[in-house]
Amino acid sequence: MPSSTSSSEPGGPGVSPTPVRDADPVIHRPIPDVRWPATAIVAVVLFAVALTGWEAFWRSEQYVPSYGNHDGQWAEARRRLDRPEPGATAFIGSSRTLFDIDLDVWEELTGVHGVQLALEGSNPLPILTDIAEDEDFRGLLVVGVTPPLTLMPGIGARAEALERYHKETPSQWAGQKLSYPLERSFAFYNFDTRLFTVLDRQAWWPEREGAPYQEPEVRKIENMRRDRQADMWNKVEDDPAYNTIVTSTWQAILEHLPPPPPEDVARAAFEELLANIARDVEAIRARGGEVVFIRPPSSDWFREFERQATPRERVWEPIIGAADAVGVHFEDYPELSDVKTPEWSHISSRDKERWTRSLVGILKQRMAERGINRPEMGT
């Protein structure tokens, strides 16, 4: 076929003239002439050796295979609420709600295996709003309150989890399913052992004068199950040096929080927050659901910081008042306070069973006092 372009411009716009060109022909890519089978065998064997060594190293550091707490895992859990009948119990909150509640004990005492939707470093109130807007949810919602996080604008560290639930693509859904077998098989498959995460936390980096404050990365502190039950990693409890890393991280984060907004702005934001809570709780109740609030324990420096920055009477009490809901604060119950929090913020894996038993008992009692009978609590 003749060319009608009379092109004299090959190589891209503005390139100097060369002869007329026809339609682009088929390309045959050259293959380097090397011993490919031997090359591939060397590559596979060395890769396998290196990966085995990497896995062995992390296991020697007490890392064990654990589910990754990815957004896809959260979205999968969230979808368990997509059923238009009562009977579901869901937990939202931050890491304390995630770590402190024992789902098996909860099920044993209530007959319901709860849906764990708490997200570390996150504010649960946008999740509360999302569930309130979900016409399907008519069950019991347990909201964990961690005052500094509950006052944050937006969800915070794990905002993408909610987006994933609403916009998950088929490819992402399949990817999460395929990831599970790897997560339960490899200790190195973990956010804390990613190559650049490991490199960045090394002490060898020189000081850069004038460099900004670098907030320390939160290290691994839990092992997670498929149902998102998270148990404190025994290294946090048993290794004093690692425990110090974790507590110093909390301290550094809290000491470098952005300055609070002006008093009038903060007051207006808090009023809006209370109004939103009241609206969301009412929406869930109007469909036949119920909402309760819990305040899990903290201790030591962390607790003192919370007392100073977010005193109970200025945060917790107004929230419970606005929601007009059952609220269980650990300070009001010795059995909820008498637990070990090895890194000041989460209950020891050895105490969570006892704590959950106490919590369920107290919640049943408090709900009964208000005349609330819920199938999700076995009442």
């Binding site: 372009t5 411009e9 390139v15 591939a40 590559a43 890769f47 956010f191 460099a211």
Partner: protein, 474 residues
């Protein structure tokens, strides 16, 4: 479906197994076509309808164009193809942009009009496959090629999953003939293809996402002015990130196709060793630059209508090339800067190109570094979310930054950016006049195996978080 995802690993293993199964060639092509639709639907199933629409329109239009000699009818038929393809692109990609700018224009003449919300999801890869199908109709219209004999072959050309969503933008005459006769990768093709996939994913997962993205995000996302050093570090990091991300995708796409026995053209040839901007555009996103050359610049008249018209044609081509990347004025500026550079280069080349000094090594090296410097300035507009950020960073890079601006990068990120940037430049200059295949052929096989294992290991332990390739948004 992302190449850097577990879903793709399983998907590709199934596709490869079916392609090597003892099935008739037509069945294998049907398998590839279905696989390609699955690959695309894995993002958003309804958007497969757009692929079908584009496929059917251009299949029909090209055949009708070929059958008639009446120029008016040929032109009208081509208009149908242009209207459908560019209409789709315009609606999904530029609708909101046009409305916003219309509202702004109205406000300048005192008319208050609020643009309606345009919350439309951009179908991934739409810019790539619309250009690819347009090339088909245009080639037939320009009498450069015959229409495909088989709808199956044509549909596979439009949809072929390795290059569907981010190129290379393959010409019909490069790919459709490859579907006509049975092909299966030889053992060496398969292994080299797997090697290219590994290299591409290494560039994407380890270099672009792991090593450079944090510095880019910190600098371009800073909420206050940044100083000279960090503005440069952030821009150099993006320079490396955009190359590693996009060239990584292209390399993986070429490798995937090769594993199936098909050859795709190069899309990058070590562009940061370019000496001048014509050279740069022979090395950067080659399939787009040649598309723009053949279907826009040359039809506009190319360089055949005098110096001034050539400059105008260059600028129009590059401005539209910029706009192709995204519906924002920052992309237009990016294209405009490249058009300006090309125009100046053409002027200088015409006047001083024959000088003896222009052929010396030192001059070429200096020109190469100048090209790299100027390319980096353009990347600021490409990456910045708005003009405020772009001007602020450009000012800082040229020494006009705000007094007392604070650093935003810690030493670990700063050192990493410098090390990776030097590494990229060394590789590009070493490879400037070489092909990867030649270098691998001259390297001891055990060293190639060692490098391959190293890249695989780095990919796995980086544990990429499954970030999409940057060019998917275009």
């Amino acid at each position: 479906m992302l190449f850097n995802s577990l879903t793709f690993v399983v998907f590709f293993a199934i596709v490869l197994a079916l392609h090597n199964a003892p099935l008739p060639w037509k069945a294998k092509k049907v398998n590839l076509l279905i696989a390609s639709y699955v690959f695309y639907a894995a993002w958003n199933p309804p958007f497969v309808l757009l692929l079908w629409l584009s496929t059917m329109v251009d299949w029909w239009v090209a055949r009708r164009i070929y059958e008639t000699d009446r120029q008016s009818r040929r032109r009208a038929l081509l208009g149908v193809s242009l209207a459908v393809n560019l209409g789709m692109l315009g609606y999904f990609k530029y609708g909101g942009f046009l409305l916003e700018n219309w509202a702004a224009l109205m406000s300048t003449i005192g008319v208050t009009w609020t643009a309606p919300g345009w919350d439309i999801v951009l179908p991934v890869g739409i810019s790539f496959y619309t250009f690819q199908t347009l090339a088909y109709s245009l080639d037939v219209y320009l009498r450069r090629a015959k229409p495909a004999d088989s709808l199956l072959d044509f549909a596979l050309f439009v949809t072929f999953f390795p290059q569907l969503v981010a190129g290379p933008i393959v010409r019909p005459t490069q790919l459709i003939p490859q579907f006509q006769a049975p092909v299966r990768a030889s053992r060496n093709q398969l292994l080299w293809g797997l090697g290219l996939m590994t290299l591409g994913l290494f560039e994407k997962v380890v270099i672009a996402d792991g090593a450079l993205a944090p510095a880019v995000d910190a600098v371009f996302g800073a909420d206050k002015a940044v100083p000279f050093t960090d503005a440069w570090l952030g821009t150099l990091a993006f320079s490396g990130q955009i190359f590693s991300d996009f060239a990584g995708y292209s390399t993986a796409a070429i490798g995937i196709a090769l594993c199936l026995g098909f050859s795709l053209p190069d899309n990058f040839r070590f562009p940061y060793a370019a000496i001048g901007f014509s050279d740069f555009w022979r090395r950067w996103h080659i399939s787009l630059s040649t598309w723009l050359r053949d279907y826009l610049y040359i039809p506009l008249g190319g360089n055949r209508k005098g110096w001034q018209r050539t400059q105008v044609n260059l600028m129009v081509t590059m401005l539209l090339g910029g706009l192709w990347h995204g519906a924002a004025w920052t992309f237009v500026i990016w294209g405009g800067l490249h058009g300006f550079y090309l125009g100046v280069e053409r002027f200088l080349q015409g006047r001083y190109g024959g000088a003896a000094i222009a052929k010396s090594f030192g001059f070429k090296l200096g020109l190469g570094l100048l090209t790299y410097f100027l390319v980096n300035l353009t990347w600021v507009f490409f990456r910045a979310q708005d003009f405020g950020t772009a001007w602020s960073l450009t000012g800082a890079m040229l020494g006009f930054g705000a007094e007392g601006a604070e650093l935003v990068l810690g030493s670990h990120l700063a050192i990493r950016v410098v090390a990776v940037t030097i590494g990229i430049l060394v590789v590009h200059w070493f490879m400037r006049n070489r092909r990867l295949e030649e270098v691998v052929a001259k390297t001891p096989w055990w060293l190639t195996g060692l490098a391959w294992a190293g890249m695989l290991f780095a990919i796995v332990i980086t544990q990429g978080s499954g970030n999409a390739f940057i060019y998917f948004q275009f």
